[in-house]
Symmetry: C2
Subunit: 336 residues, 2 copies
Amino acid sequence: MKKDINISEVAKKAGVSIATVSRVFNNSGPVKESTRKLIESIIEETGYLPNILARELAEKRTNLIGMIVHNLTGEGMARTIQGVSDILEEHAFNLLMTCSNGNFESEKKHFELLRLKRVDGILFATRNFTKEHKEIIDKLPIPVVVLLQDTEKEQIPCVTFANYSMAKEAAENLLKLGHRSFAYIGGPEHSANANERKAGVMDALKGADIDINSIPASTGNYHIESGYEGMEAIIKSGKKFSAVIAVNDGMAIGAMNCLMDHGFSIPEDVSVLGLDDTVLAKASRLKLSGVHYSYTKLGDEGAALLLKQIQSESSFFEKKVIPYKVNLRQSVRLMN
Amino acid sequence: MKKDINISEVAKKAGVSIATVSRVFNNSGPVKESTRKLIESIIEETGYLPNILARELAEKRTNLIGMIVHNLTGEGMARTIQGVSDILEEHAFNLLMTCSNGNFESEKKHFELLRLKRVDGILFATRNFTKEHKEIIDKLPIPVVVLLQDTEKEQIPCVTFANYSMAKEAAENLLKLGHRSFAYIGGPEHSANANERKAGVMDALKGADIDINSIPASTGNYHIESGYEGMEAIIKSGKKFSAVIAVNDGMAIGAMNCLMDHGFSIPEDVSVLGLDDTVLAKASRLKLSGVHYSYTKLGDEGAALLLKQIQSESSFFEKKVIPYKVNLRQSVRLMN
DNA sequence: TTGTATGCGTTATCAG
DNA sequence: CTGATAACGCATACAA
């Protein structure tokens, strides 16, 4: 537990001024080779470390970025943070993490907190982007990049998944396999992402002249159990379908289990596809089909965009969409 | 994008000194009611926020804690961070997150970085705790709490799961159900946690006079595929078993799938149990049995212990073990 | 090539 | 009750 030493003590030991020590440490100016050597050896032996707080105060920047997430319970957000943290590290930035638990008041508080902490920029992942959010962000003197929500309308920089297109393309895959009757298990009503996915699916079906009003549908909360229940309700409704699409893979897994429990064979009787592809998709014996996209990449791109905004010293609109890939596995089949 | 205002501008507007403003803002001294009102109104209208950097510099503490994790790819670490972040927030501390990707050099670098950032304490989650880690920590002038590793031997504060006991108890559950022949799918050879679990299982079996040398075993990397392969190797070895225990639920899921693919019925022919219980356990139609423990709690306890160390201003040894619960579900059955 | 002096925005001490 | 003023530790413009 040795005591911290500061720049003036180093200077004293070396018989020079603090300015010279600073120049040596930061390589920020000409220093005679011999005095440089001397100072370096003293830095070495004393284990001198500059006080970053003082430096940041003088330089008026923290090299800190703040991140507010709504949810920290699943693999997706973990990977996102991983991506963010890797990119920030490359650029010698640090990450201040906070979790809002999806609560607006808490989000608001965290924005203030991060502002107080003088972060240079903020990454914001929320379940639902509102006018109130926009107002907060517009007042901020630092750039904000939104993750997981499309804020093009609000002209706030963002990185999102291609909810609409991936859902449309996934549905089109099933159409190509000859399916004509569908069931849909969606997400919460108020979720922009869930609604975009549903729109993608429905537009694909409309494009194939399918009456979307006759499609049995249910909504859920993304969890396995919820998918099971949603599927059960659809089965009980008595409507026919040869393919089920679920808004994420957890609910698709629940749906598969429910179908099997009700005597359906997959994929012989019903094909199942989730608009997501996490570790769950490979958990069951019968591999689930899904749409894969990388959360790590989401974090990477978000961090990169934020750093760009910080370096440009002015916030500008830019939207980045993460690529995806439809993976058809055992859970779907060609209609005869 | 309004410019930041500082304490002296507030003081000027109010016609008082900065000392008085500081007293009002921090409620740290007597101020006449009328001037207090005046200053408060000016603070309100200017939106004045103190510069935390300057404050921290003056106070010599950051209210920041650093966290180094080896891995950010799964639900477990996400929940851990959630727990940490909740507790820190209650105490007005902030979280500086870094990810080492399990690399020692990187871990070392992050310790230095966090030290540089003047964090008040560090939470450290690593795959494997070594002498080198202890040396680094002993030199640090701030407290460190280790997560997920038992560092009692090194007398470093830690929060861990009860690897040995949970494994022993889980195995004893199977013994009570009448099982006498086992197979074991373990983790990486060098993992302390995996070894503790294996020891727990083996000690339970020894206690029931089972020859543990005859138990077919394999090792893997915790992933589903790895459990599948491990199970396949054991099946091919031709040895008999009525119960399989896997070091985590991912590998147990892989093992279940493999068994079914080889014509075994679960639980009629083989019972399967994982020493873990995440979302995966509920993913398959036939619910996996496992041992449940809360990562959120791990984070909670870790953060709480670290804060205790920080407040006591001296590091002391304390070890906290997270409780667990064995959940027997459809994947195990009573032997006839 | 080096040193001096000032600013960064607070908190805290000590007079008044 | 209030105001000067000295830390806090560093960067940097300007002088020498």
